[in-house]
């Protein structure tokens, strides 16, 4: 067979295939096309047989064309078959209003979400995460933090006791001491965790809640550094327009001590119900580590200075999401948890 004849034959078969395919409407007709063209005794197989007799000079080019036709025909038949079967089963045009089949969606607790944000913020600032026990000795929870037995500051928090010397920690501050006992400065840690107070539950009190404690100790650490780190945190957490306010306060383990406020995150400082028209919301306490605390931890307070700060995770979460009642965090109502 002459070479033009072979290529011409391939083209003819190709055209015949195209026109038959265009007319195919259902699965049986498609199956017939498949047998006629791609079957063991179909047109394409027949041409492959003639290929062996062809002039070696054209065999190569014709073989390539034939292979190409075979592949194209196969995928065309498969594609058309899929379309036909979808049409037959009515799936060619899905009802967009019918619900899809979705895997269940699980959610993280809002306190986890906020605790992660706090952690990530301070980790970027070079703080490591440290942990301590939730049931603490009186020594770490009070004494080493410069709150000796009988100190009036013990009245500032109502404590839950396990025994005379063992308490449910009232703050995450004991982690400060545990870290400083084991690590020489420089120290830069945050300690997130659960704390306990003997508070009757109401909209703003929970006997169980979460704090994040921060501690930075090194040579040359100052109150100005403390303000800088709190400002950085405020902006990372609530936006770059945040400003902070430090007010003198009293904590036995820091001196000078401060309460720090953020621009009201609800009204952005204009004055609203949440900030009682002051434009500020109270966040928590901070200050320079009291030299007495350094003494307990065995750190030279002449050489090193440090700052510490705390914050309530529930408080931040309530401000971020405008949650009105702290008890919602522990009721675990899915209609609440599902919103985060």
């Amino acid at each position: 067979m002459a070479s033009e004849n072979l290529t011409g034959e391939i083209r003819k078969i190709d055209e015949a295939f195209q026109s038959r395919l265009a007319e195919a409407k259902d699965a049986p007709s498609l199956e017939r096309i498949r047998t006629d063209f791609l079957g063991r005794k179909g047109h394409i197989a027949r041409l492959f047989e003639t290929l062996g007799e062809a002039d070696p000079a054209v065999r190569r080019e014709a073989g390539r064309l034939l292979n190409e036709l075979k592949n194209r025909a196969q995928s065309a038949v498969l594609g058309e078959a899929a379309r036909v079967s979808a049409k037959e089963s009515g799936e060619d045009r899905p009802d967009l209003t019918l619900p899809g089949y979705a895997p269940p969606v699980g959610r993280l607790h809002p306190l986890t979400i906020v605790m992660r944000r706090v952690k990530s913020c301070f980790q970027k600032l070079g703080f490591a995460v440290a942990q301590g026990p939730e049931v603490e000795s009186d020594y770490y929870n009070f004494e080493a933090l410069n709150i000796p037995p009988g100190h009036p500051a013990r009245d500032m928090q109502d404590t839950l006791y396990v025994s005379d010397r063992v308490v449910l920690r009232t703050h995450t501050s004991p982690v400060q001491i545990r870290v400083m006992e084991n690590q020489k400065p420089p120290v830069r840690i945050i300690a997130p965790g659960r704390v306990y107070r003997r508070d009757t539950p109401d909209a703003s009190h929970s006997p169980v809640f979460h704090q994040v404690e921060g501690l930075c100790v090194d040579e040359g650490v100052s109150f100005a550094d403390l303000k800088a780190v709190i400002l950085a945190f405020a902006r990372e957490m609530f936006g770059s327009d945040m400003t902070i306010r430090f007010r003198p306060s009293f904590f036995p383990f820091t001196e000078p001590s401060a309460e720090y406020d953020f621009t009201c995150v609800i009204c952005r400082g204009k004055g609203c119900r949440v900030c009682k028209n002051t434009g500020w919301v109270e966040i928590s306490g901070a200050g320079m580590v009291n030299p007495e605390v350094f003494r307990f931890a065995g750190i030279d307070s002449e050489r090193y200075t440090g700052y510490a700060f705390g914050m309530g995770v529930e408080r931040l979460t309530m401000l971020l999401y405008e949650v009105q009642d702290i008890r919602a965090f522990y009721e675990n109502d899915l209609r609440f948890l599902g919103q985060f």
Binding site: L108, T112, R116, E134, P248, P252, P256
Partner: protein
């Protein structure tokens, strides 16, 4: 501490603005928590700005105004001829009280709603002008601010005095701060008139100098008991105390003013007219003037006369020596007691008074005499009495002022800012400290400041008055720390992501639980008791997470929220005698079956069951790349017998799972079936592989064969799988069950299993010739080992 502004004003030579004074105090660490406006002729009146004036249909003379009253815009109907927009006016809001017992209510006038009243001078009792409303000219007034009657109103500050500042539990102490904050000197309101001595000294004996460092007293005679004048009553009542009679009120007045608690005894009731300060020792009981009988302990400090106790020192006087209407002679006590001694008695007896609040925090040991003389002067003036003794001042243990060196460069180091030397001196001397030298500054601290004991305390005083806001934030210049990642914390966060990714929602439960829930699940462990719980429901620390999750199921089920997949990660506690309990991190989850099965429109989703929990653990193991995982039956408390199993990895027990037992469900008030698991966090972390070592992906295709067989119903599928894999000639890489059937076409007591087997060689493409002999061997083995028959 509650203080009327007018009282503070007595001590300050410049006029005080209530809000500005409060702001300055707050920024100096004396937080003004609230300002109450009292007295005057009206209350509930605020400044308002009239935003617009419109007609009231059907009423020619009335106008409907929209008024900005600070908290929002309100409609007010007004009939005054001079009402116009833009002006500032006094607005009596709903609930306001005006002279003549007039109460403002929200009303509707001619179909127009009115939420308040714009007032004339006469309506406020400020004058006779009733020709129109009062127009306020002062442009500094802001809508919403209280409109006050400067004549009669007073502002009561409620100041949160931190426990380190007992010196600020009195008007004088706060006034000292206010004076410094206003850059003026403290003014003494009245000079104490010295009252001439008459008669001999008071017989005072301090037997316990540790408990009482100083006792100052004087007798007064010819007293006439009666009510005190209104100005005293008003002030002590504003401060939150009750007026009783002139003598008692004056002791309270002077205490509120100076911080020094005073006590007046009826001197005629004191045996031998003597005062002995001693510990209770063998004295077991005492009746305080509130009529309560108090049981004493040997350590309690008492004031006794010649025969018996007459007061609980620094806390409360006794009924036996109380000042009453018939009292003619008093003995006035002004003493300094050891704060810790007072505090212990207060705590132990559970008694507290205005005196003890101050005594237990520390009053000024140098101030007993001044306070006594101030009170005597007022008493002589107001009760007609005259001295019956000289001032007797017994100092048993002198308490001297502390001297501290303050290094300016230390201030710089701690604050990271420069504070001018002049400011340091101004602030310290303004606080009553004596300052000498420049570097270091030698500071003598008055005895009224027991909180100032070291250099850091002085630095705090300096920056407190310099202004925290004047310290500029500056980024740290300190070097890197040894930041190390916290493996456990990161692992827990990873678990949270995996479980929430598998459709579980995270819950947080209280770690304090009731007794019952500590032994619902798992082998009982001693629970940590809370000694002073708020209620029996929170008297123990949790020993497991499952009970909390059951509670979460109950809460949601009772609110018709079903189809729950919940997890919690938290600590559980095991009592270890005297020391700290053992704390372990647990990971637990539940899947609860819905009472009303939620279906998918296309096909019913499978009801959650035991296999859903097992599958969760299998998926978790796969996500974490756990090795050598196994599930073994193991009876466990809380689970339905037969469903209880343990999950192992790396040859170690990680935790257990099963279906919650109906008895547990009943105890937890859960009606739905619940399937759960609880794993030990550290056990899980320990068997975590470092990081997976990657093997090359197979280069040759697998040959797949399906195998359907029938075996006795009791044969575990796992044992057949094991047989399959052992007989695969090293080429069988997986044998996955894809069907399990019992019923028609299968003989009773038998079940049909269908597996897909995959054969794979790392070296070449396998052919039927490789696989067929292996299949034959496998089938023979299944027949002989498991009594399996091939299903065609």
């Amino acid at each position: 501490m509650k203080i009327p502004l007018a009282w503070l004003q007595d001590w300050i030579p410049v006029p005080l603005d209530a809000h500005e004074t409060a702001r300055r105090l707050t920024l100096a660490g004396l937080e003004v928590e609230s300002i109450d406006i009292v007295g005057g002729r009206f209350r509930g009146v605020v400044i308002g700005r009239i935003l617009s004036v419109g007609p009231v249909p059907g009423a020619d003379k009335l106008r409907l105004c929209r008024v900005d009253a600070g908290s929002g815009e309100i409609p007010v109907v007004c009939g005054a001829p001079n009402v116009r927009d833009g002006i500032l006016v006094p607005v009596a809001l709903e609930g306001a009280e005006l002279p003549g017992n007039m109460k403002i209510r929200r009303t509707v006038i001619r179909n127009a709603e009115s939420a308040g009243m714009i007032c004339s001078a006469r309506e406020l009792g400020l004058g006779d002008d009733h020709s129109g409303i009062l127009v306020l000219d002062d442009p500094s007034l802001r809508p919403g601010d209280a409109f006050t009657d400067r004549e009669g109103n007073d502002f009561i500050f409620d100041i949160n005095v931190t426990p380190n500042r007992p010196d600020c539990l009195c008007v004088r102490g706060i006034a000292r701060e206010v004076a410094l904050l206003h850059g003026c000197a403290l003014r003494s309101p009245e000079t104490v008139k010295p009252v001439d001595a008459a008669g001999g000294p008071v017989d005072i004996r301090i037997e316990d100098p540790d408990g009482c460092s100083r006792y100052t007293a004087r007798r007064l005679k010819d007293i006439r008991i009666g009510p005190s004048p209104e100005w005293i009553r008003k002030r002590i009542e504003a401060a939150g105390m009750h007026a009783i009679n002139n003598i008692v009120d004056i002791t309270n007045y002077v205490m509120l003013e100076t911080g020094q608690p005073l006590h007046a005894f009826d001197a005629d009731l004191l045996d031998g007219g003597r005062i002995i300060v001693r510990r209770a020792g063998e004295i077991r009981q005492f009746t305080t003037l509130d009529g309560q009988e108090r049981r004493l302990s040997a350590e309690d400090l008492l004031i006794c006369d010649g025969a018996r106790p007459v007061a609980l020192a620094g806390i409360m006087g006794g009924r036996n020596s109380e000042v009453s209407e018939g009292t003619r002679r008093i003995l006035l006590e002004s003493a300094h007691f050891d704060p810790m001694t007072i505090r212990r008695t207060v705590k132990r007896i559970g008694i507290s008074s205005e005196a003890s609040i101050r005594m237990e925090k520390g009053v000024d040991p140098s101030g007993t005499r001044d306070a006594l003389e101030r009170a005597i002067a007022i008493m002589v003036e107001l009760s007609g009495g005259c001295p019956d003794s000289g001032v007797t001042d017994v100092v048993a243990r002198p308490i001297r002022p502390v001297r501290i060196s303050l290094r300016p460069q230390r201030i710089r180091r701690v604050l990271g800012a420069e504070i001018p030397h002049a400011d340091i001196l101004r602030i310290l001397s303004g606080l009553g400290m004596t300052v000498e030298g420049t570097d270091p500054v030698e500071v003598t601290v008055p005895t009224r400041r027991p909180d100032v004991t070291g250099e850091i305390d002085l630095i705090e005083e300096v920056v407190r008055h310099f202004g925290y806001d004047r310290i500029e934030p500056s980024a740290s210049t300190t070097g890197p720390t040894a930041v190390h990642s916290n493996r456990e914390d990161e692992f827990i966060e990873r678990l949270r992501d995996i479980l929430s990714g598998m459709g579980f929602t995270e819950v947080f439960n209280n770690s304090m639980v009731d007794r019952q829930s500590t032994d619902l699940f798992f082998a009982p462990v001693p629970a940590v008791p809370v000694r002073n719980p708020l209620s029996p429901e929170t008297a123990f620390l949790r020993t497991a997470l499952m009970p909390g999750l059951m509670e979460s199921v109950r809460w949601n089920q009772n609110r018709s929220v079903f189809d729950l997949r919940l997890f919690e990660i938290g600590r559980v506690f095991e009592h270890r005698g005297e020391g700290l309990p053992e704390e372990r991190v647990r990971v637990a989850g539940v899947i609860s079956e819905s009472a009303r099965q939620k279906g998918y429109w296309k096909s019913r989703s499978p009801r959650p069951d035991w296999y859903a929990v097992k599958g969760t653990l299998e998926a978790l193991a796969e996500a974490l790349h756990l090795k050598e995982t196994a599930f073994r039956p193991s009876p466990g408390r809380g689970w339905v017998p037969g469903t209880a199993a343990v999950f192992e990895a790396g040859g170690k027990r990680i935790g257990s799972f099963g279906e919650a037992d109906p008895s547990v469900r009943a105890a937890c008030d859960v009606s739905e079936r619940v399937f759960g698991f609880e794993l030990d966090g550290s056990a899980l972390l320990e068997c975590l592989p470092q990081s997976p070592v990657v093997r090359p992906v197979p280069r040759y295709p697998a040959v797949r064969r399906d195998l359907a067989l029938v075996v006795d119903a009791g044969v575990p599928v796992g044992s057949i799988q094991q047989t399959l894999l052992l007989n695969g000639g090293g080429l069988l890489v997986s044998a996955d069950l894809f069907d399990l059937y019992q019923g028609k076409q299968i003989p009773a007591g038998r079940k049909s299993l269908a597996f897909t087997l995959a054969f794979l060689s790392p070296e070449r493409t396998l052919t039927d010739a490789d696989v067929d002999p292996l299949m034959n061997g496998i089938i023979r083995c299944l027949e002989s080992v498991h009594g399996a028959s091939l299903r065609s």
